[in-house]
Amino acid sequence: MSEPMLQMMFNGLWETIVMTFVSGFFGFVVGLPTGVLLFLTRKGQILDNRPANRILSVIVNIFRSIPFIILIVWMIPFTRMLVGTSIGVLAALVPLSVGAAPFVGRMVENSLLEVPHGLIEAARAMGATPFQIVLKVLLPEALPSIINGASITLIALVGYSAMGGAVGAGGLGQIGYQYGYVGYDTVVMNTVLVLLVALVFLIQLTGQYISRKVDHRK
């Protein structure tokens, strides 16, 4: 492989990492509060509110059901408005974040459901406010599970960003598509695959390691 090619691979990897983690971050910024609200407004929970829960749930479901490749195209006008362009890494961050947020929301909701109800009850009995319960009980207790969910989200985002590459998002996906699929260069295609696999493994293993570190349940 030539030097410019290596340089391109390196750039592609970096772009993929940026897209994955930055959109993962924004996905969490929106998804974490959404997940917390989805949980708190459930029946029997501290902010039990059927209508609010229903509305939030419907919005999350709608966004989760749009195939990512369509979401990118569908969001082009909004993306242009927000970042001024519809191609490149920056543009890809918008649909990636929007795609990740509802995913994160459901995942956080599920993690919170694993927290024993007795802990919430004990905190209420001690006079904790709902905000304190979220901050001091729910999130810390669900942390190992949320971290596992975060690695699943990031891995999904690696895949999404590669998909985005096909429509001009940059990153390893675009290299793989252009040189591998269009140009039929098997060496490039396979190198891209190896790099993606390595990235996914790295995320998974790091996630598991951190999750185990913060888990004191046994």
């Binding site: 007795g118 009850e121 004990a122 009995a125 001690m126 006079g127 406010t129 207790e141 004191h216 349940r217």
Partner: protein
């Protein structure tokens, strides 16, 4: 200190009403240990959870520390709850926090300063004897140790009242006793009023001053422990009292037991003492009066408040006439005597 006035709680399950509590009233005076005993499903859990409004009663009033809790706003209620401690059957410690951090939890809710937290937590962990475990996580503790941490945690905010929701039900008998004596100690030392619910009469017998019996959502009987143990009025109460003593005929006797007074067999008699039984040395008396020896096979006598109760299995050695007189004598002194057979 704690007063419940006509508490009713109705749940709706699949559109049918379930009356968990109907018209429950009780009063717990300051410094008292009050036990509510009932079988599972009798409503005792709902009752204790109504007191700090974890469960909102359908009707009725709750007054704790002179404040009507049912009238408070959520914020005021949260503040009032800090004066009402609670411990649970399954301890409910935060797995993500060390022992120290668990005890610090209620203090953090009050925005107590770091130095004060350190001082108070150290004091409390010393009280429950777990200072050396302060950096451990709950997962590495035994059940009894977990409950001690939970007790330390609930005492952190200096509550005036402590609610115990089946606090010893997940513990073995020996640990149960140590937790109960810790509760008693706390009650005496800090004059904390305790209301506990349990399904074990042994718990009531060990530490309660007063007891109420709950069945199908109503309190069927209540009074001081001595009163209830000496004059139980309801059948259910009697059964709970009986459950506090273990009675069985030893295998060796069971095999030799015959139902008829044939041959040289002496009667094997079960004597039941309750609070009404005469406070006299009855066994020595019958020996003197009727020349009958009481051969004690097994005995379990206990004291609850001022009431003494228990069962004793004796072989009465004497002539048939005299053993009959002995049995009559016991019955006349309010000891339930029953011939189980002859050995």
């Amino acid at each position: 200190m704690i007063e419940l006035k006509n508490i009713t709680k109705t749940f709706y399950k699949n559109n049918t009403a379930v009356h968990a509590l109907s018209d429950v009233s009780l009063k717990v005076a300051e410094g008292e240990i009050f036990g509510v005993i009932g079988a599972s499903g009798a409503g005792k859990s709902t009752l204790i959870r109504c007191i700090n409004l974890l469960e909102k009663p359908t009707r009725g009033q709750i007054v704790v520390n002179g404040k009507g809790l049912t009238e408070l706003s959520p914020r005021q209620l949260a503040r009032e709850r800090r004066q009402i401690g609670m411990i649970f059957q399954h301890f409910n410690l935060l797995s993500s926090r060390t022992v120290f951090e668990n005890v610090a939890f209620p203090l953090e809710l009050n925005h107590t300063s770091g130095d004060d937290i350190k001082k108070r937590v150290t004091e409390l962990l010393t009280l429950v004897g777990l200072l050396d475990k302060q950096s451990d996580y709950p997962a590495s503790l035994s059940g009894g140790q977990k409950q001690r941490v939970a007790i330390a945690r609930t005492l952190a905010s200096n509550p005036r009242v402590l609610l115990c929701d089946e606090a010893t039900s997940a513990l073995d008998p020996e640990t149960t006793l140590s937790i109960l004596s810790l509760l008693k100690d706390i009650n005496r030392r800090f004059r904390i009023t305790i209301l506990l619910i349990t399904h074990e009469m042994n718990v009531v017998k060990a530490i309660c001053d007063k007891v109420a019996i709950i069945s199908e959502g109503t309190l069927i009987e209540q009074g001081t422990v001595s009163e209830i143990f000496s004059h139980p009025r309801k059948e259910l109460t009697r059964r709970f009292i009986a459950s506090a003593v273990h009675f069985s005929i030893p295998e060796e006797y069971r095999q030799r037991l015959s139902q008829l007074p044939d041959g040289p067999g002496y009667p094997l008699v079960k004597l039941e003492f309750n609070g009404e039984s005469a406070d006299l040395p009855l066994l020595s008396n019958v020996a003197r009066l009727f020349d009958v020896d009481n051969h004690i096979v097994s005995a379990q006598l206990e004291q609850a408040g001022t009431a003494r109760f228990g069962v004793m299995l004796v072989k009465l050695i004497g002539t048939p006439e005299n053993t009959q007189l002995t049995i009559n004598y016991y019955i006349a002194h309010q000891v339930k005597a029953e011939i189980l057979g002859y050995v």
